[in-house]
Symmetry: C2
Amino acid sequence: MTTLAIDNIGQLATGDPNTGSGPLGVLEDAAVVIEDGRIAAIERANTVDADEVIDAGERAVIPGFVDSHTHLVFAGDRAHEFALRMAGRRYEAGGIRVTTEATRTAGAEALRQLARRRRREALRAGITHQEIKSGYGLSVQSEELICQVASELTDDVTFLGAHAVPGEYDGRADDYVELVRGPMLQACAPHARWIDVFCEQGAFDADQSRAVLEAGREAGLGLRVHANQLGEGPGVQLAVELGAASADHCTYLADADVDALASGTTVATFLPATDFSTREPYPDARRVIDAGARVALATNTNPGSSYTTSMSFVLALAVRDMRMTVEEALLAATSGGAAALRRDDVGRIAPGARADLVVLDAPSYEHLVYRPGVPLIAATIARGRVEWLDPDLSRD
Amino acid sequence: MTTLAIDNIGQLATGDPNTGSGPLGVLEDAAVVIEDGRIAAIERANTVDADEVIDAGERAVIPGFVDSHTHLVFAGDRAHEFALRMAGRRYEAGGIRVTTEATRTAGAEALRQLARRRRREALRAGITHQEIKSGYGLSVQSEELICQVASELTDDVTFLGAHAVPGEYDGRADDYVELVRGPMLQACAPHARWIDVFCEQGAFDADQSRAVLEAGREAGLGLRVHANQLGEGPGVQLAVELGAASADHCTYLADADVDALASGTTVATFLPATDFSTREPYPDARRVIDAGARVALATNTNPGSSYTTSMSFVLALAVRDMRMTVEEALLAATSGGAAALRRDDVGRIAPGARADLVVLDAPSYEHLVYRPGVPLIAATIARGRVEWLDPDLSRD
């Protein structure tokens, strides 16, 4: 069996407080040995023997980011809509239809190429595991295709037929919900692990959302909810009541929502790049964390409200504008994302875990937030494979 | 003479409204011909004949960013101070002393290597021209060395001996001002084009600032002022009164400051990445622009309050939080930066201008703001030389 070692790591943030110091379990002068796509051992620097060695040059290493909320599979460009919104127009959920039209007509191979390109971009951003949602097809055929394309890139595919009511169902939202719960779910469930619904004024109400989620659960899917993005609403409490793995957005929370999150097993997943791009206020993460709820941070990569793959940007917003510490933010984007996907094989650097890790072009993980906008991802290793290596890495 | 062409440009934002449509002078399907480090011609796509051709693949091309405010030459790491500040501690100008200590003891070659590394990072971020300030030496010898190192990287060196009062002059600020105006200025002026002063509560007051600036002017240097960063103060009006090229920060402006900027020739240079990293409010650019003043955007790359080289990040903040349009922000970071440095050879793509341009991995310049945190700089050409070419550029 071939082994790979990342050696000469100046600072290793394992994400496991039992392994090292502080909440991030930090070790100094470490090495990580990888075998068969898994982490085999964590050792002292310059003591390991492996078939291949990457010299981290005393840089910092962190777990690969776990991005628990993306919409990678779509076609079309909405940059100009974004620019207009920044010049004063408000974000509305209806914009999804623009992307739906482009996605429906794009064809399988074009969608696949676009998604792969975005996946590549995410790897360069240090994201080693991604959830990917459907939701820009909104017809049985197109949703199935999107789930299939997504399943080629991740085992965390989410069926989101209930993303918006498509134009041909105008005024007949309940009929569309029946389609989603019936033939569309039947076509998509084989490719998916999760079902999700956009529970929001202008999208799906509490009854419709519950109907979709319950049908998904009967089909064997886990539950996720787009909740409380544009205003307070029933989404968060519905998610907790139904035992959803995650309630995503959580921008507008009533006290009862925070209480529900604190008392349940549902992770509150914040998507601050969305609040950035829609000019909404940032969620108050401090309030949710201090109440005792589990939190995650994700990119929400999508063309309408958050076209970024930069988890570092998300971290910077979380620390600057959501009052999270750097440590809380980094945990939320790694083991927090894993918790939101109910898995423990990713999001931390520990023997037996997937060999997903990132070498930063920096001496400490704090630089991820200290140096906003700077591409600090020097190398991304996913399942033990070097997926990105910065051409300047060996310059020094 | 060898010629280089950037051909097959989908969208060329020249920055010159007389050349194309809109404030950015946009042309579709264009090519740029470069000769001897200068732009020789702008042509239709796929019609040019050149010794070497870079195929932009229908991507967008913009002028290289002109970063009119940086502090590239320093040693030491302040990531942890940043993390503590984000956890609640307020930014204070006195932190400069931490960097001064590290810089004074670093030695010429270490400083040179650090500065070159940051220059390389800036080129990757699409910055083709930079102003570089001294200000972390605060002794005659150390300031002179910093100016000399900076002059190896740019012809826009700024002498900023009046960045902070060093520890050995505690309680004797006026004596330090005399040192700055006298022997320090004499040692640094030969390497510099500009003089600058940190006019702020806790740094230098109006009289001290005026004394420094007037001495600089007598030594043949142009004037710049750090003004109104942490509160309202005399900086902006002093800058305008003395005809400074730029008043930088402008975070806290009284009506009289805005009036002064609108009536004078001093450019208001905003540094929103600083307000991000110090958690100050963002300046109200809309108010300043609507009053008729000229504005620029710059990174303020420095270890204490803005350790980023990402002009794209600066643009995103300007559009999201300072109510600038995408077009205004891009102009402020190119021709606006050039105006703040009183030069017209950079900041636009026009025959005769320096061949400084950036290929974006995107179909339009709007993506720079639409896709925050994503490294979209596919290629950077400075003085006709390809300084950065993304390894993925030719993948499609």
